[in-house]
């Protein structure tokens, strides 16, 4: 995609791998590195094993953390709130003050970030939209979801399924009657020349 030009997928861009409007090309290159080829079974196994190891490690760390915390919590209370010191000199009090200050700073940073995003996002979105062929994309989506059929199904003014069935049965009956009449006519047309004398 060229920057500054509207995005519109071409035939070559949207065509499946190895296929262009001129047929199959570059088979040797694509067989080495196919862009859309599914991952091999071994790769999926390795990936699953890695995920399993990670889950086990996380569970072990959680268990260890809980036990260590249970052991160290009395020690932490003694360190943060030593009874021999006045409350304002305790480490816990200092930590609480730091936490309050940090909270205020975080709220201020969030406010500033929201203000920046409010100014930045509309401008970025507008620039992105100018580079995208939205109408073309919408047409593609409509073509994919078969909007016509959805409208047909959702339009109650035409017919419900029962009425539709009755109508189609009627049409079938009309055609059957028409076929029978046509057959009778054909038979009469064959027999009549035999009855009448041949024309000179």
């Amino acid at each position: 995609m060229v920057p500054g030009q509207p995005f519109s997928p071409t035939v070559d861009e949207v065509a499946p791998s190895g296929r262009t409007e001129h047929g199959l090309v570059g088979t040797s290159e694509q067989s080495e590195n196919p862009p859309d080829a599914p991952p091999s079974r071994e790769a999926i196994l390795v990936l699953d094993a890695a995920v399993g190891v990670s889950v086990l490690a996380a569970a072990a760390a959680q268990t260890v953390g809980r036990r260590v915390g249970r052991v160290l919590s009395p020690v932490a209370v003694v360190i943060l709130r030593p009874p021999i010191l006045a409350e304002r000199y305790q480490a816990g009090t200092w930590l609480a003050g730091l936490a309050r200050r940090g909270g205020r700073g975080r709220e201020e940073a969030e406010r500033q970030l929201a203000a920046v995003l409010d100014r930045l996002v509309p401008a970025v979105a507008a620039e992105v939209l100018t580079r995208i062929d939205v109408a073309g994309m919408a047409e593609g989506v409509i073509a994919e979801v078969d909007l016509a059929e959805m409208i047909r199904q959702s339009t109650g003014s035409v017919a419900s399924d029962t009425v539709r069935g009755v109508r189609m049965q009627g049409i079938s009956g009309d055609e059957a009657v028409g076929r029978v009449v046509a057959r009778l006519r054909l038979r009469r047309g064959r027999t009549e020349p035999e009855m009448t004398p041949a024309q000179p």
Binding site: E139, A143, V158, V166, R167, G173, V177
Partner: protein, 161 residues
């Protein structure tokens, strides 16, 4: 589907038949439905008239006698009025609506009121003329041949195109 393309709300299986002339079976079913509508309307009118008479004179009330000749005449009049109004207004009666039919002129447009009236009288007095539509290739009944009308499959709602 292109953006400028019109979306047809007619189901795919019925689209090939749209605008083609309807045959005997569909038209007969529509006619039966219309006959039922008229009979129900006449019965409702009879009940309504008797209800009104009861309200006016409850003590001396007796059901009005339903003799055959006035009953049939009333039914035919209601039928003619019903068919005439329906064909000239929308091109379809309730039976035609159920069966997806429309009565149109030879140009494919809506019937004029006097043509609709003539056709309604003709259909009411000689319903057997419908049988003729089974034989012809054009599926034209006797009324269609005389008045140059036709009955087509048209599942689209609204006025004839």
């Amino acid at each position: 589907m292109r953006t400028g393309e019109q979306v047809s709300i007619v189901p795919r299986e019925a689209q090939p038949y749209q605008g083609r002339r309807a045959g005997l079976v569909t038209r007969s079913i529509a006619g039966v439905i219309d006959a039922v509508v008229v009979v129900v309307a006449v019965l409702a009118g009879y009940v309504a008239v008797n209800g009104l008479l009861f309200l006016l004179d409850p003590r001396g009330f007796r059901f009005s006698e339903a003799s055959p000749l006035p009953g049939v005449t009333t039914g035919l009049l209601v039928l003619v009025a019903y068919l005439c109004v329906a064909w000239s207004a929308t091109g379809r009666t309730y039976g035609c609506h159920v069966m997806g039919l429309r009565v149109v002129s030879r140009h494919g447009s809506r019937l004029r009121p006097h043509v609709a009236l003539l056709r309604a009288v003709f259909c009411a007095l000689f319903p057997l003329g419908l049988l003729l539509c089974a034989g012809g290739r054009q599926h034209s009944s006797l009324q269609d041949l005389v008045l140059r009308t036709s009955v087509i499959y048209d599942w689209r709602p609204g006025q004839p195109r």
